[in-house]
Amino acid sequence: METFTLAAYKTFAVDGRPLLFLSAQNAIFEADDDILQTLDRVSAKSAGHPFTRAAFTEWSAGSPHEKSQAFEQLGRIGLLRPAGKPSAVAHESAGQAPMPVKTLVLHVTDACNLNCSYCYYHGGTSPAKGKAMTVAVARRAVDFLMDKSGAIDKVELVFFGGEPLLNKHLIAETVAYANASAAQCGKSVDFALTTNATLLSESTTMFLTENRIGVTVSIDGLPHVHDRCRRFPDGSPSFAIILPGIRRLLDAAACKPVVARVTVAGNPGDVPASLNYLLDMGFAEAGFAPVTSMDPRYRLGPEAMQQLLTQFEALSQQFLDRARENRFLGFTNLIDLLVTLHEGEVRAYPCGAGLGLFSVSTGGDLFLCQRLTGENEAAMGTIDGGLDPVQLANFRQAGHVSSKPECCECWARAICAGGCYHEALIREGRLTAANRHYCDWIKRWIEIGIDVYGRLTSENPDYLDSLSALRGHAA
């Protein structure tokens, strides 16, 4: 006799409206109370074991017609599925399929002129000691990107470090070379750069704007918070020094929005105040992330994480209030989450690292991502020898969410997929491990996002489409 099982799901009540979230598909339905009651009863009675249609009918609520309707509709969306069949979640044949490279992150220098106390990057400390990428390596990296991007006609080149602007002449050379090379291949290149904003002179700012280079500024919010960790090697604070450059950059008729990236270390302080301060300065958006560190001076403990969540929740409420009136609050974390929910993106991997994105060290070696440049576990070949197929296949196998036992039963896996590889390497000891230390935090954060999302779908649905458009999704 045919038996069935329930796929993973979670129910939410948003403003009195019952929502059903399908874990494997990242699909959200509004459900009536009967069907939710039926689901809860079937879930409790079956306790994870397969059951027959007769048992489903016995356990479910409503008239015979409603029961059969519930059975059909739940089957239709894949929540009810024949026992023994794999779930509908897309499983790429891990590592086998050739995948085009879309984004290459160039470590144009190991050196940095700041010496931020929490920084994970210890490649080089002073501009004098750090290795810099040569023009020859950068050109070969561009050739690699053009070659390996296959049919993709819009590729991305990111300049990273160290402080990338310490090697500005290389960036200028590479931009020119990449544009010429892309034109030859019938492609176009998008450029981006992450900087500590210490070197944003007039000419540099002009160069960035003229070449349409998207800029992310590492800045920690309010001046006194920023200066806690972001200091020069001599110990002097950096905020006052970077302020004129940031103003220059924000004032320049930038054709790309300038965003701020905030590292939260020690205790979160006043996150909403920091966000509003940065937005008032003129940043289009600001995103917050807890520092990746085992050092007890910087790492956020359970209390600090809870504090951060409470502040994120308050900011989400601010965002919602504005969204109702078609106004905008550049809170990157929430915008990204809302767009993920709106589009129903299903992630088998937490990010694009090792799929369409790789980083290149100053010497031309390939790594999974900018954060893992130089880590042996994340070495993926060289720009001259190409991607190492064995390493890559192993990584794609182990990094897939279905290879992480903790994630298999989790309702949030299609959104989180186990979390950042670098964070996992530092905190869990293995880069393809699930980030168990922030499981509960992420789940709670996604719940907050679903709450905001649910409210917006009934109060201002068009707003969600405009957020999606902001992130480049088609209407």
Partner: protein
């Protein structure tokens, strides 16, 4: 029309809702797969189609094509949805060419 118990909210849910899963949507007249032997195909006495056997139900050879694709009838047809989308290229005239379809052993 049935009352909707599940209303799609995000784009993914809407896409799933629009997708006709094996012809089982609410609207029975438009969603039935055409050419399926059990529902709208007339019996052996009136085959309205131009192919043989005339005045009969679908020939067994035609089961290969008419029971694959978006049809839920569990005939032994090649799995043309996921693994062998182009199986028909190997046997243009199924009555004669069916031997070209080999056994498939999935490891």
């Amino acid at each position: 029309m049935k009352k909707k118990v599940l209303k799609p909210i995000n784009k993914k849910a809407k896409a799933m809702d629009e997708k006709d899963v094996f012809g089982m949507s609410d609207d029975i007249t438009t969603s039935m797969p055409i050419g399926c032997t059990t529902i709208f195909d007339t019996g052996w006495e009136t085959n309205p189609r131009p192919e043989t056997p005339v005045s009969n139900c679908i020939s067994s050879a035609r089961d290969f094509t008419s029971c694959s694709g978006p049809c839920w009838w569990p005939a032994q047809t090649p799995d043309n949805i996921t693994n062998f989308p182009d199986f028909q290229n190997q046997c243009r005239a199924i009555e004669k060419d069916w031997r070209n379809l080999n056994f498939v052993i999935k490891r």
